[in-house]
């Protein structure tokens, strides 16, 4: 069929119908009549433009060519004044006529302007179109003393924020005693007001504006009760009124909006309505999301296919920089789970009815909003809303494992924070910070601490350690899956079970797991790696990197030292330092210099940046020390060479001391060997960092070879069984020393572990060799540092001052 369809109204709805219809039928003739002079644009983003002052043309939904390419006839600045569906004719304001087989009304709505005196004075603006946007912004920048925004709904608040952003004093006057009453409950609203105040938006509640004071232009507001507010810029945002003029004239049934059925049909044959002008099942939506669903159904109806629109669950996001607010569905339910922390301005709530999710409000922390809004839309059944809220904070610290370090400055793990609440009797973030000292250092983790405490005090029970909290997958489950289904890359896993697709926090963990299970014969995907493991150096606070070459057992040579010195000179390295790991650190290196530096050094990577085998500290032992009982250097170097290049769940730092005086601090290392009378003591699980723990003795053996064997076996056991980021000092207590001994010292189990380590080791290679064989031509270079681009791309890459094109 080759009908001719006319769409009245070029808003988001008109455009959406246009596109949905063209998708279904390449031939149907489409005419889009736009009352506004600009082609269809994204009204939603006007709020942004008010802040940024960007040119409204950037809002255009489609470039001009699009209409020609999709042969859609676009009439701009034309108003449809009359139409006769019977003989399929309509008239435009310029008198010209159009014929149609089917008519779609997408006439949207007009801002509601209350009939109070002074409403049409200069200086009074609605907030609906680009012209309003420009007028308001100009006034705010042009020395308006104070702006008043009438209406504390979503739109009013966005307008107020936009005005404040121009440095103009602004007051929101709201009829009720709380903001956004349509979307928020009292609890969230109570936190929203202060947040706005923090952004220089004043709010006056229970203000019933009875008049706008003149005389020539707006000078203030007059409230019921006699109070006044001086304001020379007034923005009215009290609601919208569907545009029904044309519909009524044609004889289409209208109530609050144009009444449509589930197929988006009006009472007149061949006449449909879509968008803000339409009333479906008694509801008129003031939102974009429903429009696209409606448009798809309308397009189906127009092409004579079956389709039904069953209504939408409204959801909204406050587009105010500095305030995170997402809400969906009903503000209140029969049962409500709330996690709140007034001090931090966090309010997260799930409302349920008859065991189903009916509403969500996320303020101050909107993590997981996608999932929750989806749940509200689907009305998903739910048994433990509080748990659901916690799980939803996908990337949130809330679902990191207990072993994860939250505060690096003070080495506080998540478990410590929870314990402070559950055992320590703390109830506020401040108390928890005081007792654990978390967040008292650089402070970058305070928000994380606050949220964890909020969740913990919110009654959240102990959750298992998920490698992927988003998909609730434990390390064991995933390892099994990878093994059984022969998955070789992080994206394989993502494809297989969605893990790694969401917050992304688990990607490095997956990358390790995939490499470990595949004995390093996995398929490497660098995007899943932390920057340190993409460029094999440790990122510093200023974005430069540190280079720590390997010095087996802390032993070096004059020649190595000379090369290090030369590199330090040649590349003007800001700091050369002896590390706590018995080797040298070149700090402050530029990313693009890394390959050349590695080449000049000609030394292997020390993996100081990776979750991998780090150092093996040794003491001089029998070689020189008068007390030496065992060849500490010999064993240390042997260990480091045998383990070099193996990645581990968390860093593994070792030490070998030639006697119990223990100068290499082997008893506080992840793996440590101490020479004793008649043999060696092999220890594991030590720590002298954020935590201090004496290493457990795995075994006392009588030969150096045996010591190496036991230590090596433990290393593989740890590689295969520890959670990601679980140091040995947490791993051994979790598994239990006896169990560890049983497996590591067991004849068969031990042999099997060593064999798997041998295979994994065989597939390792010094990552610094990527200097000559990069993972990607731009592995180490930015787009605007072409001088370091291996294939010598020219400075052409740096764009000319914005605008110009080549």
């Amino acid at each position: 069929m080759s009908d001719c369809v006319v769409i009245v109204g070029g808003g988001i709805a008109g455009q959406a119908v246009c596109e949905a219809l063209r998708d279904r039928d390449p031939d149907v003739a489409i005419t889009l009549v736009c009352g506004e002079t600009s082609a269809p644009y994204d009204r939603v983003r006007l709020s942004e433009i008010l802040v940024s002052g960007e040119d409204p043309v950037t809002l255009q939904l489609r470039p001009a060519e699009w209409y020609a390419d999709n042969d859609v006839e676009l009439l701009l600045g034309r108003w449809v004044t009359a139409a006769d569906p019977q003989d399929g004719r309509l008239t435009l304001d310029d008198g010209s006529q159009l014929t149609f087989d089917k008519l779609v009304l997408a006439t949207g709505s007009q801002p509601l302007m209350p009939p109070i005196s002074g409403i049409d004075l200069p200086g009074v603006h609605p907030f609906r179109g680009p012209e309003d946007c420009e007028a308001i912004r100009a006034a705010a920048l042009g020395g308006a003393k104070r702006a008043a925004v009438i209406g504390g709904g979503l739109l009013g608040l966005e307008a107020a924020r936009g005005i404040a952003a121009q440095g103009c004093a602004v007051t929101v006057v709201h009829l009720l005693d709380r903001l956004m009453e349509r979307q928020l409950d009292a609890g969230a609203a109570a936190l929203l007001a202060p947040a706005l105040a923090g952004l220089d938006v004043e709010i006056e509640f229970e203000r019933n504006t009875t008049a706008i004071i003149g005389p020539e232009r707006a000078t203030g507001l007059h409230f019921k009760g006699g109070d006044r507010l001086l304001a020379d810029l007034v923005v009215v945002s009290v609601g919208i009124r569907p545009e029904l003029k044309l519909a009524r004239e044609i004889g289409v049934t209208c109530e609050r909006g144009i009444v449509v059925d589930d197929a988006m049909r009006t009472n007149l044959p061949g006449v449909l309505a879509v968008g803000e002008c339409a009333q479906h099942r008694g509801l008129v939506y003031g939102l974009v999301a429903p429009i696209h669903d409606q448009a798809r159904v309308a397009a189906a109806t127009l092409t004579c296919d079956e389709a039904a629109y069953l209504g939408s669950v409204p959801s909204a996001k406050l587009k105010v920089a500095g305030i995170d607010l997402v809400c969906a569905g009903e503000a209140t339910g029969e049962y409500e789970a709330v996690v709140t922390d007034a001090a931090a301005g966090i309010y997260r709530k799930l409302a349920t009815r008859n065991g189903r999710v009916v509403g969500a409000i996320l303020l101050g922390n909107t993590r997981g909003s996608e999932a929750l809004v989806a749940a509200v839309r689907a009305g998903e059944p739910i048994d433990d809303p509080l748990q659901a809220l916690a799980d939803a904070s996908l990337a949130g610290p809330a679902d990191l494992p207990h072993t994860a370090q939250i505060c690096d400055c003070n080495g506080v793990c998540k478990g410590d924070l929870i314990a402070a609440v559950t055992d320590g009797g703390c109830s506020t973030p401040r108390e928890v910070m005081a007792t654990t000292r978390a967040g008292t250092g650089c402070g970058s983790c305070r928000d994380a601490v606050k949220e964890i405490v909020a969740v913990a005090t919110g009654g959240l029970s102990d959750e298992p350690t998920y490698l992927c909290p988003c998909r609730k997958q434990t390390r064991e489950q995933l390892a099994g899956r990878i093994r059984d289904d022969g998955l070789r890359s992080v994206s394989d896993v993502a494809a297989a079970c969605g893990t790694g697709r969401q917050c992304g926090v688990c990607k490095p963990a997956l990358a390790y797991l995939v490499s470990e299970v595949n004995a390093n014969l996995h398929q490497e995907e660098r995007d899943a790696r932390f920057i340190n493991d993409r460029v094999h150096a440790n990122i510093q606070k200023d974005g430069t990197f540190s280079v720590v070459p390997r010095m087996y057992g802390g032993v070096t040579t004059p020649d190595e030292l000379r090369r290090i010195a030369d590199v330090a000179d040649k590349y003007e390295v800001p700091l050369v330092k002896v590390t706590g790991g018995q080797r040298l650190d070149l700090l402050g290196v530029r990313k693009q210099d890394l390959p050349d530096i590695w080449r000049d050094l000609g030394m292997a990577s020390g993996h100081a940046y990776a979750k991998a085998v780090r150092t093996v500290k040794t003491c001089v032992g029998t070689d020189f020390c008068r007390f030496g009982l065992g060849d500490a250097i010999g064993l240390g170097v042997e260990m480091e060479k045998l383990w070099e290049g193996l990645h581990t769940p968390h860093k593994v730092k070792s030490g070998v001391s030639g006697c119990p005086r223990n100068c290499a601090e082997a008893t506080v290392k992840d793996i440590g060997c101490v020479a004793v009378e008649g043999g060696w003591q092999v220890r594991a699980g030590g720590a002298a960092g954020g935590n201090v723990r004496e290493a457990d003795i795995l075994a006392t053996v009588d030969s150096r070879a045996e010591a190496l064997r036991v230590a090596t076996t433990f290393l593989q056991f740890y590689r295969e069984n520890a959670d990601y980021k679980e140091r040995t000092y947490d791993f051994i207590p979790r598994i239990g020393l006896e169990k560890v001994r049983e497996i590591v010292l067991g004849e068969e189990s031990g042999a099997a572990l060593r064999e798997r380590l041998r295979i994994a080791k065989a597939a390792t290679k010094d990552p610094w060799l990527e200097r000559d064989d990069p993972y990607h031509p731009r592995q180490f270079s930015d787009l605007d540092s072409p001088e370091s681009d291996p294939d010598g791309a020219q400075p052409a890459l740096v764009g000319p001052p914005a605008g110009g094109e080549r």
Partner: protein, 105 residues
């Protein structure tokens, strides 16, 4: 729109820095498409282009703040970062640096 790079210049799932009109922009090639943010994290200037990209968001490598690649909104704590429009024309990537240079509050 300003020419930024060719599609192959950025490894899939990673970001790279490009200067446009003297402004440092982090250009991301995510599974879902191309995105551009100001290069420096509003928190302490961390290099966002070096962050892990997932679910239309980037995680700053320094202190793990997350930003929506499309809008620049901070997911969780923190100020937003300026986001810019990216357009793919065949093999070539163009960026429109529109958002104003943020002024520290």
């Amino acid at each position: 729109m300003t020419f930024a790079c060719h599609v192959d210049d950025v490894p899939l799932g990673e970001g790279r820095v490009v200067s446009i009109g003297g402004r440092r922009i982090a250009l991301f090639r995510a599974a879902g498409g191309w995105y551009a943010l100001d290069a420096a994290c509003p928190h302490m200037g961390g290099p966002l282009a070096d962050g892990i990209v997932c679910d239309r968001a980037v995680i700053c490598p320094l202190h793990d703040r997350r930003y929506d690649l499309e809008t620049g909104a901070a997911l969780g704590a923190g100020d937003p970062v300026a986001a810019h429009a990216v357009q793919l024309r065949g093999e070539r990537v163009f960026v429109e640096v529109t958002a104003p240079v943020p002024v520290a509050a």
